[in-house]
Structures are given as C-alpha cells and as structure tokens.
Amino acid sequence: MNTTFTRKHLLGIRELDAGEITHLLDTAENFREVSKRQIKKVPALRGRTVINLFFEPSTRTRTSFEIAAKRLSADAVNVSVSTSSVSKGETLLDTARNLEAMAPDCIVIRHSMAGAPQHLARMTKAPIVNAGDGAHEHPTQALLDALTIREQKGRIEGLKVAIVGDILHSRVARSNIYLLTKLGANVSIGGPGTLVPDDFAELVDNGLRIEKRFEDAIEVADVVMILRIQRERQDAAFFPSMREYAVHYGLQPRHLERAAPDVIVMHPGPMNRGVEISSEIADGSQSLILDQVTNGVAVRMAVLYLLAGGSPAETAEEKPPAKRQKRERKVNHE
C-alpha cells in the first residue's frame, strides 16, 4: 500500500488505495490552518498557473478551487462554458490543447460527460483534477466529506454512514462510496427505489448496503449524507413531484430520532431547502454543511500542492515530441 500520493492526476477515488487517500486527508488537515491566518497565503505554488475549466455551472466548487490556488500563490484562471469558444463549436480536446499551449501547471475540469477528465489526462501533459464528471466521480467532494467526518468523529473506520437521496445521478455518492468503504466505513444507501439502483452493489466488494426504505438507511447512522435532488437531470419521471419527494424523502428531525445521538448531517450543496432537507436540520446543530465548505478549500489546496507543485523539468523534457505532433497535425490538415 502507498503511504504517499504521487500520482500525476486526480481523476477519481476508485483507483486510489487507502494509504493515498489518508495521505491526501493528512495533507489537507495541515492546510486547514493556512485559511485561519490573518494573511491567508503561502508561497508554495508561486509562479504556477491553475486553469479552472468548467463546462457545468458551479459556484462552490469553482470558487473553492480558485481560492485554494490563490492561497497557494498560484495564478488561477477561470474558463466557463458560456464565455468560451466551446459555444462556438470547439471540441473539448481542442479547447484543452489550446489551453495547454499557454503552459498551465494544472487543469481542473468539470464536465457533464463522465470520462471527460480521463480523456484529457490521456491527451494532455498538464496534471488534471476531476472537479465532477457527469454522474461518475467528484473526488475532491468525497475527500472534503471524509475530512469533515474525521474532524468530527476522529475516524472513518467502523462508522455507519447513510447516503440518501438521488443516488442514481450522483457523482458525490459514487466517490463517497469508494472512499468510505476503502477506509473501512459501513455505508448504506437509500431513497426512492427509482433513484437507488441495485447495481450499485457491484461498485465495491464489501461495506455497502442498499436499503429501499430510506428510514432503514438512516437508522443507527453516525453520519447522514443528504444528496441534492438534481432538478436538471429529472427529465424522466423518477418521482411524481418535488412536493411528494419532500413529504416522503425530505430529511426531517423525526428521522434522526433513531440515529446515533451524536449523528452528524452533511450535504454537498447546493441545497434545495424544504425538498431533500428541512431548514430545521440544515441550520441545526447536527449540520456540518458549512464545515464541509471550509474543508473543501483545505482539500483542494492539498490536491493542487501535490499535483502542481512538482518539478517543471518534467514538462520541459516532454516538449519536443509535442512539437512534432503539432507539425504532423498541420500536414494532415493540408
């Protein structure tokens, strides 16, 4: 097992082992202190450029990556889809190659297609961070969730974690299932039958329980993670109406009566208040939703430090073949 994280990219949690995850979390934990300083900046990535390439709307994640980069003294550049040449018909790969020609040290990508970051990682030289790809993975969210749990409970191993809501469309659920089971938590998932697919059982070898009744998942939980109802992905009729969802699957204080007395509630945001989570819980003492956001910056600082902090000599060495490729492409064009 690895005890450090030495990968070039962060594409998902699935391919990581427990040691790599723990190293990421330990590093993030030590970065938390930087954000509490009066001068919230360290020179670790001075002169480095981080590009945030967001093909899906995002406030929290993009801001979080931007702040993380800036607190490490890197220059953060945001490219969002509405203002990019993607709207003029450019392919993902061409966009990435053009950005790469400006020599970034890391590209953070969010895309509605699962596999987009993996595709970029194969085709470009810069380290790639997956900031959410379709319904596939959202590794930094799972890491910040784990950091929040560890901060609160002191451990991950042996905890009972319930992930409830729209599991089907959730990259947060997938990344969390991988991460939490790798670190030895017992995860149960629950929600409406249409949104809790049975084939999730195949994601991991053990540590995952699928509950059709969402109350059964929450019962005796140490941690309850509520997922957002993804209104933008509800084109098929997975449930009759938002109102009906709120009545049957919205987390209410009564649901937590049978959970562990020190149960904590998390939500990756943005919340649909009064739908998947009642305001009473969202603003209550058990809610760690804002701690998650704070920890998100620390996690992203750790990830950028570990990925973009490397020796620039590596990229310089790879440059000649890239130039040849460019010439070949030109020839093909002509």
């Binding site: 009066q38 001068i39 430090y305």
Partner: protein, 200 residues
C-alpha cells in the same frame, strides 16, 4: 535542505560512518541551559519572549528551553511551531513533494521578541523560509536565532547568522550532523556522520 529531513529521506539500509560523537545528553542539556540564560539576559527577562521551534527537532529544543527559562524567571514564554515546507525555495525542484505539517503560533507575535530555534544551522535557507513565514503572521519587534549546532559560516548560502550557538562545529560538506533527541530518536546526542559513497 535540513540535515534532519535529509537524513529521514535516506533509506535505512544506507549505513553512515559515524566519525565523531560531539555531544551526549548531559552536554546538550548544559548547552540549552546556557542558551536559555543568554536569551533571558539579552532580552532583559522573559516578559516579551516568544520561542518558535522549527519542525522537527527545533520544536523539542524550544520546549526544553522554555522550561529552563521558566526555572530562571518564573515565567514560561509561549512556544510556537513553524513548518517551513510551504516556504521552501526548492519546492519546484525536489522530486517527491515534502510532507506538509502544521504551523502553530499560540497568540500574537506582534511586538514580541521572537527567538527562532533549530537544531542545526547550515546553509541558512531553512531560516530564510522561517523568517518569511513568521513575517506573514505579524510584525515582531525583534527576531533572534538560537541553534544547538552551527556548522560554520563557510557553508552559508544566505547572509544569516545565529545569535545564540550551542556549539560551533566546523564540518566538511560531505559530512552530516545528526542531532538525536529523545522525542524522536532512541537516544540523545549529536554525531558527525559521513556518506560512504561520497568519501569513496
């Protein structure tokens, strides 16, 4: 960058030739006692003092000196911890990313007399990083430097000298000073070791 961290990154199977044992436990203790009383004398008491240990071995040294100052003055100055990793000037050239540890400065350093404490002063680059980091936390009235071992001015790569020196040990570049403290090591002592490959 620092002997201690350099040593930690070298695989255990590489045996170092121990050339000389220059300090044992009691001598370290006596050196720290002298440094502590010099610090108190120079700063006219312990009132404005704030000791800051540089990770890793500067930290237990700072703690021990704070205790000795408390014995002398009846007041224990606060002890902070600096992890200089994020301020290193070789971050972009070192292969594996160094492990980041936490910096903890209890209380305000504004207008305090800071004493930076480390085990070995060699090139001065660690101290440069520590100074840069310290200034990001505020504006101390004065910053001084105390080290257990000074390897000599000829190794310095920056204009940095120590105000309080436990022992001056002129060394060759191929030699490594190994400070061992009970908090991290099985024994107490300071030895000079040499890398066998470089001497051969």
């Amino acid at each position: 960058m620092r002997e201690s961290s350099l040593l930690a990154s070298i695989p255990a199977h590489m045996d170092f030739v121990e050339k000389a044992r220059i300090m044992d436990g009691p001598r370290i203790n006596r050196a720290l006692a002298r440094l502590s009383s010099e610090i108190v004398e120079e700063n006219h008491g312990a009132g404005d003092l704030f000791l800051v240990g540089i990770r890793r071995r500067g930290v237990p040294l700072a703690e021990r000196m704070a205790t000795k100052i408390a014995d002398l003055e009846g007041y224990r100055p606060p002890v902070g911890v600096l992890d200089i990793t994020l301020y290193r000037d070789d971050l972009s050239t070192v292969g594996a990313k160094p492990v980041v540890n936490r910096t903890e400065l209890p209380g305000d350093i504004e207008n305090r007399n800071i004493v930076l404490i480390d085990d070995v002063l060699y090139t001065g680059r660690t101290i440069r990083a520590a100074l840069d980091q310290l200034i990001d936390f505020g504006r101390p009235r004065r910053v001084q430097l105390a080290v257990l071992i000074d390897r000599g001015k000829e190794h310095r790569e920056l204009p940095i000298q120590a105000d309080y020196i436990g022992k001056l040990v002129p060394t060759k570049k191929s030699e490594i000073i190994k400070v061992m403290l009970q908090e991290f090591d099985e024994e107490e002592g300071v030895v000079i070791v040499e890398r066998p490959s470089e001497t051969a």
